[in-house]
């Protein structure tokens, strides 16, 4: 399938066997804002406040391994940040990408460290480089840069050579 399938009902019809999408829709269909199937990769958009529940839902569906947490800055459009989770299932040999839109004013999202402890470093990295705060993270401090660093370098409005 080369062309993209957009919309959660269309993707559901195109992928009847996919357990990640089925479990998310069974868990809370309202929190699933959108879904997309493109280049054989499934992307599910989750409402910002529901991300922890969504991670629990895919985890109980067999997606046991959190590969990565990262972020994309869509400056200047709103919602500005796209926090991205890549979750893998060892048993199903399948991967799902959860994305969650975060507004630029007070960018905050729930931390998923209670579900996967590996999110600890990943979320610190996102906080350090993008300035997205993770609510409930055990120690949200910078990881790559010194504590007194000015700004968050991977934001699109941060100049390549720094402020100074």
């Amino acid at each position: 399938m080369d062309s993209a399938v957009q919309g959660k009902d269309a993707v559901r019809a195109a992928l009847p066997e996919n357990r990640a999408l089925a479990s998310l829709l069974a868990w809370n269909a309202d929190a699933v804002l959108d879904a997309k199937y493109h280049l054989k990769e499934l992307t599910v958009t989750i409402a910002r406040d529901e991300i922890r529940g969504a991670c629990k839902a895919v985890q109980s569906a067999g997606y046991n391994f959190l590969e990565d947490v990262t972020c994309v800055d869509w400056y200047p459009s709103e919602p500005r940040f796209q926090v991205t989770y890549h979750i893998l299932s060892h048993a199903l040999k399948d991967r799902v990408r959860l994305i969650s839109p975060v507004e630029s004013i007070d960018p905050t999202i729930d931390s998923i460290t209670p579900i996967w402890p590996s999110a600890n470093f990943y979320e610190r990295e996102v906080w350090d480089l993008f300035g997205v705060r993770f609510h409930g993270h055990p120690e949200l401090r910078r990881i790559m840069l010194p504590e007194e660093w000015d700004g968050h370098p991977l934001r699109k409005d941060y100049p390549v050579e720094g402020y100074r």
Partner: protein
């Protein structure tokens, strides 16, 4: 969910340590800084270790000394110009980084890569795995105190680097892969030289094993040290040989094949011992499997082109560029303007010597990547250090760091 008590403790309180001042425990614990520069790490890693006598209570890694800013720089380059930068991420496996990035962009472009290019990529990747494991084995053994193995391993690594120089013109930062294929057809005698080298390799691995596997000092320093259960490994995001040494049978080359790995026969070594010794055994067996893959690649190497049929992405032949107007125009346009990539997001993961290396590439339809994110195996594995070291002696920390085969280039970025 956290399963072992050490892991639960790590999740609850992993703030930077201060010496304990409460009543009764006065002056019992102290904080030691290991690093920022320690011989057992490739690069700069500082470990803040709280010890009670010689027993480790807590290890907090403090990273961030390199500041390459590589992800930010990628956003200012054309797609093809990113390839030389991916070499610098993990300087012990440049070819694997090249491959991951190229596969991700090729997925966005929906390019069909010819068989020959894919097989040469597999061959070079396995050579890279061998040389990376040789550096690991040499330095790991040196940390434990066995210097001879270090010299032997670097002797063989030198041979592999010479092969890289022969094919790519560069020893370490090869940049040999291109989006859409390879830079050049390998020189005529390249495959013969690889064959000569690989024929000797099993003997050499036997030689290392003769020095280490039966060595009582080596065994006592490694066995039972750095325990990490399979559940904890998955919860902490550990991949690669440390994951397989914890009894989880998972290898991306076999389970989610890429670049024609499904055509090769090999075994995935797994151990249930979950300690530093198991990681040593798994890696040694992996080297033997790599040798087998390289032999198969040499035997069945297909003929044909080494670049995809995509004139808007791949630079034309030098000869064609000089004689055909159209090729000259394509050449000029690709060099000056780059090539555009359709909008989309992809995640491509491969099995690097250290574990799962993934590139998350976002395109907005222009000639420069909107965002490139690197998921690097050492970064995740470093989190498991606390779980592996707690309750052990401080001398074991060195063995454990060696066993996770850390490269700071890919952690700091």
């Amino acid at each position: 969910m956290p399963t072992s008590p050490e892991l639960a403790k790590f999740v609850e309180t992993s703030t930077l340590i201060k010496p304990r001042q409460e009543e009764g425990a006065k002056d019992r614990t102290m904080v030691v800084n290991m690093g920022p520069q320690h011989p057992s790490t490739h690069g700069v890693l500082r470990l803040v270790i709280e010890i009670d006598g010689e027993t480790v209570l807590k290890v907090v890694p403090d990273i961030g000394y390199l500041h390459t800013g590589i992800e930010k720089t990628c956003e200012a380059k054309f797609y093809q110009q990113v390839v030389p930068m991916t070499d610098r991420i993990d300087y012990l496996c440049p070819m694997t980084n090249n491959l991951t990035y190229c596969l991700a962009v090729e997925k966005l472009l929906q390019l069909e890569i010819p068989d020959r290019a894919q097989w040469i990529r597999v061959l070079l990747n396995e050579l890279t795995r061998l040389q990376s494991h040789l550096v690991w084995l040499g330095t790991h053994a040196m940390d434990i105190g066995a210097l001879t193995v270090f010299l032997y391993c670097f002797r063989e690594r030198e041979d592999i680097l010479r092969l890289f120089e022969h094919v790519a013109g560069q020893r370490m930062m090869t940049s040999y892969f291109r989006v859409g294929g390879l830079a050049l057809e390998p020189p005529l005698d390249f495959f013969d030289r690889v064959k000569t080298f690989i024929k000797r390799m099993p003997e050499k691995i036997d030689e290392y094993e003769n020095l280490l596997t039966g060595n009582p000092i080596f065994i006592n320093r490694l066995k039972g040290v750095g325990y990490l259960s399979g559940e904890d490994a998955i919860a902490l995001g550990v991949t690669g040989p440390p994951l397989r040494a914890s009894g989880v049978d998972w290898d991306l080359r076999r389970d989610m094949p890429y670049s024609s790995y499904e055509k090769f026969q090999f075994r995935v070594p797994v151990s249930n011992d979950c300690d530093v010794w198991a990681r040593y055994v798994v890696r040694i067996q992996e080297m033997r499997e790599s040798v087998k893959i390289i032999e198969q690649a040499l035997e069945g190497m297909p003929e044909g082109p080494i670049t995809a049929n995509a004139p808007h992405v791949v630079l034309p032949d030098r000869e064609k560029m000089k004689t055909q107007m159209e090729s000259l125009i394509y050449h000029f346009k690709i060099v000056t303007e780059g090539f555009t990539v359709p909008a989309g997001q992809v995640y491509q993961a491969v099995e690097s010597p250290r574990g799962e290396m993934g590139y998350f590439a976002v395109s907005d339809g222009t000639a420069k990547p909107y965002r490139v994110h690197m998921r690097n195996p050492s970064f995740a594995t470093l989190q498991a250090l606390q779980t592996m070291c707690a309750g052990r002696l401080i001398a074991d920390v060195v063995a454990v760091i060696g066993s996770i085969d850390i490269v700071l280039g890919e952690i700091d970025r």
